[in-house]
């Protein structure tokens, strides 16, 4: 084989001009192929990795809503329980189930003066999730967990007295927040008095809160422009402290008689956090819902996040969820994935057509070369080359031409992608989820592109190689 390799090397050098001309089509085709697939892959990872994470499904109770004029009336239960969580956990390819609970009490978040120049108040929408679900998204300086402060008694005067990042010096929880699980803090039901409740300030835990990257993108891309607010860098916002007033509302009719005031602290950003609102550890939301509404709220969830072992298995798990009697919340991910897949298929197909046409060009060039090299092939046959040797030489040359063309094509596509990113960074205004790069050149994509180039070149050379192998040495050498 090393002898044939030497011959291939010499032939490539000798006929390099022909081969360079022949490979131009392959270079262009592979460049287009790699460019579009990398673009599709990059867009896919932004859309499905950040905007609509697709390795998780949100399971909700099966909808039995009925439209009555402008209203939609729910006819069945709209909550899930532990039994549902267990059932979902048994579906194949599900690696974890994480209950999610909506805060059903009106509440207000207020603060941010150090960030925005003025304190801001907003009606708060919040979800509670299992802290395990977002463990990897939490900054190591902070903690995202449920802290039960009902027995906090360490007296303090300033935050420094408390010592820890997640502790602050504040008023003890009010009496109406001290009721046992299952009791409510309604208007007509005074909270129980706690005999040994501290009178001064005590060290209390911040309520840890996370926000979604989507929220930051929406703020930076849209809200800040409308209100002339500064652009936020997520890294600098971490640790932000603000007030949480559970039971309060800017809508007069909604607010409750009693309010629990807590201090919240932003401890991380996660794609698993609620898109528009704040996300708290499940324990807090459960406690607030029990205190203000339903004693049974601690055991019921509004949705359950189902972790799937691989993106490819999402469809199968979704089917399993439906078979189990639940629905999958429509996040738009499937449509987005479908659109991207169609985009990639169309451009991938166009690129393959280009490479295919280039392969026909390769075939013509090889036919021409073989015609020119008849005598050379005859000599090789006379000195001992078998038909298989001749075929190997021609196909080997095609493979090398394909590999080189593939590498050049991939290089060109990476260069074009780099240029595209530069233009985007400089001339395209920021928009939500604007990525640093639109392209994802995975090792698999690079290998596939070069493999395609080799494959198509070899394919183009198959017929010429067969013809070369069939050349009659007696005819080409002696003219007989």
């Amino acid at each position: 084989m090393s002898g044939l390799t030497q011959l291939i090397r010499k032939d490539l050098r000798h006929h390099r001009r022909h081969f360079i001309l022949a490979s131009i089509g392959i270079v262009v085709g592979i460049a287009a192929f790699a460019f579009f697939l990398a673009l599709g892959s990059g867009v896919r990872s932004v859309v499905l990795g950040e905007i609509f994470p697709l390795d998780k499904l949100e399971v909700i109770p099966r909808s039995t809503d009925v439209d009555l004029g402008p209203l939609r009336v729910g006819m069945g239960k709209d909550t899930l329980n532990d039994e549902a969580a267990k059932k979902l956990g048994e579906i194949e390819h599900v690696t974890g189930v994480y209950p999610k609970m909506k805060l059903t009490v009106p509440s207000i978040a207020a603060g941010g003066k150090e960030l925005f120049g003025n304190a801001m108040r907003t009606e708060m929408v919040a979800d509670g999730i299992d802290p395990k679900l977002v463990a990897e998204d939490i900054d190591s300086k902070y903690a995202f967990a449920y802290f039960d402060d009902r027995e906090a008694t360490k007296a303090c005067k300033t935050d420094a007295d408390c010592g820890e990042t997640m502790l602050y010096c504040g008023d003890p929880l009010p009496a109406h927040a001290m009721t046992a699980d299952g009791a409510t803090a309604g208007e007509d039901e005074p909270a129980a008095e706690v005999a040994d409740a501290p009178k001064g300030k005590v060290c209390r835990h911040y309520v840890p809160v996370i926000a979604s990257n989507h929220l930051v993108e929406i703020y930076n891309g849209t809200i800040r422009r409308a209100h002339s607010l500064p652009k936020l860098n997520p890294n600098f916002v971490l640790g932000l402290k603000f007030d949480l007033r559970v039971g309060a509302s800017m809508v007069r009719a909604s607010k409750r008689k009693k309010v629990i005031t807590e201090r919240g602290r932003l401890v991380g950003f996660s794609d698993r956090a609620i898109s528009l609102g704040l996300t708290l550890p499940l324990g807090y939301v459960s406690r607030y819902n029990v205190l203000f509404d339903d004693p049974n709220a601690a055991k019921t969830f509004h949705s359950i996040i189902v972790d799937v072992d691989a993106k490819d298995n999402v469809a199968g798990v979704a089917k399993g969820v439906e078979d189990a009697g639940f629905d999958v919340a429509d996040s738009g991910a499937e449509q987005a994935a479908m659109l991207i897949a169609v985009f990639m298929m169309v451009f991938g197909f166009v690129s393959i057509v280009i490479v295919g046409i280039a392969a026909i060009n390769i075939m013509h060039v090889f036919f021409m070369l073989i015609y020119e090299r008849q005598r050379e092939i005859g000599i090789m046959r006379a000195v001992g080359a078998s038909r298989a040797n001749i075929r190997t030489i021609i196909l080997g040359e095609a493979a090398v031409v394909g590999a080189l063309a593939g590498v050049v094509g991939v290089g060109l596509s990476m260069l074009a992608a780099y240029g595209f990113d530069l233009v985007s960074a400089k001339y395209i205004p920021d928009f939500p989820y604007k990525p640093d790069t639109y392209f994802e050149f995975s090792p698999l994509l690079l290998a596939t592109s070069v493999g395609f180039a080799i494959g198509f070149c070899v394919l183009g050379a198959v017929l010429p190689a067969r013809r070369a192998a069939k050349l009659d040495p007696a005819v080409v050498l002696t003219g007989q």
């Binding site: 005859g378 000195v383 038909r387 007696a474 007989q480």
Partner: protein, 246 residues
């Protein structure tokens, strides 16, 4: 031992056919020096191609050392050409993009790891042969820079690389001047006498044919004469009838 019996060969072009060998019977023993002589179109080159395994489209039987060529696979036939035969052509048939040494060791590239010469052995053998041909200084030159005689000696060196038992030469002096032609014929005589190589030379020239100990004459596809005589070791090709260069 090469044995041909009842060998027929017909060329067909569309509706027309031309029978160039009409039942040739011939035996050539090991170490013989044979000239096959005949006019252009008599079938002598076709006969040579068949013996050399370059042409397998014939009827009849061709045996080399007891093995029928027609029953050999392409791989075996290629190996036979590679290891047991050396070809020398009128037009030299050297590869212009390779150096002289690369041309000489070309057959070693098709060893297929089958007990042939290693790269180093081939290089050494190639240089040795070039030295024998007085062309050691041309090892790295391209054939285009050589004279006709030098090119033919490079072609002979290539044919001798694997120390073949049989050397097949088709009009080997046809493109050479007198001195070069004489030198080549002397070289053939030496190879035959010193190394015991079986030599078959095809020529249309009676004078050149006299260099061989046996002369086989072919006329219109039939062997009409097969005589043995004392070879003329001082053939003067200046008196021979030259054919136009191919």
């Amino acid at each position: 031992m090469i044995r041909l019996s009842g060998v027929h060969k017909t060329y067909r072009t569309g509706q027309t056919s031309l029978e160039v060998l009409k039942g040739v019977d011939l035996e050539i023993g090991d170490g013989e020096f044979v000239s096959i002589i005949g006019r252009s179109g008599s079938g002598k080159t076709t006969l040579l191609n068949i013996i050399g395994g370059l042409d397998s489209d014939y009827t009849g039987k061709v045996e080399v050392e007891g093995r029928k060529l027609s029953e050999m696979s392409d791989r075996d036939l290629s190996r036979y050409r590679n290891r047991h035969i050396g070809f020398v052509f009128q037009s030299f048939h050297l590869l212009g993009h390779m150096t002289c040494l690369e041309n000489v060791i070309l057959p070693s590239l098709f060893n297929g790891g089958d007990g042939g010469l290693s790269e180093k052995q081939a290089q050494d053998r190639g240089l040795e042969l070039l030295a024998q041909m007085d062309l050691a200084d041309k090892a790295h030159a391209r054939p285009i820079h050589l004279s006709g005689g030098q090119k033919q000696r490079i072609a002979i060196a290539r044919a001798l690389l694997h120390k073949p038992e049989l050397l097949i030469c088709d009009e080997p002096t046809g493109n050479l001047d007198r001195d070069s032609g004489d030198a080549i014929l002397k070289l053939f005589s030496q190879l035959n006498e010193r190394d015991g190589i079986t030599l078959i030379i095809v020529t249309h020239d009676d004078i050149i044919a006299e260099a061989a100990a046996r002369v086989v004459r072919i006329v219109e596809g039939n062997v009409v004469e097969d005589r043995r005589s004392e070879p003329n070791k001082n053939v003067d090709t200046s008196t021979s009838q030259r054919e136009e260069s191919a």
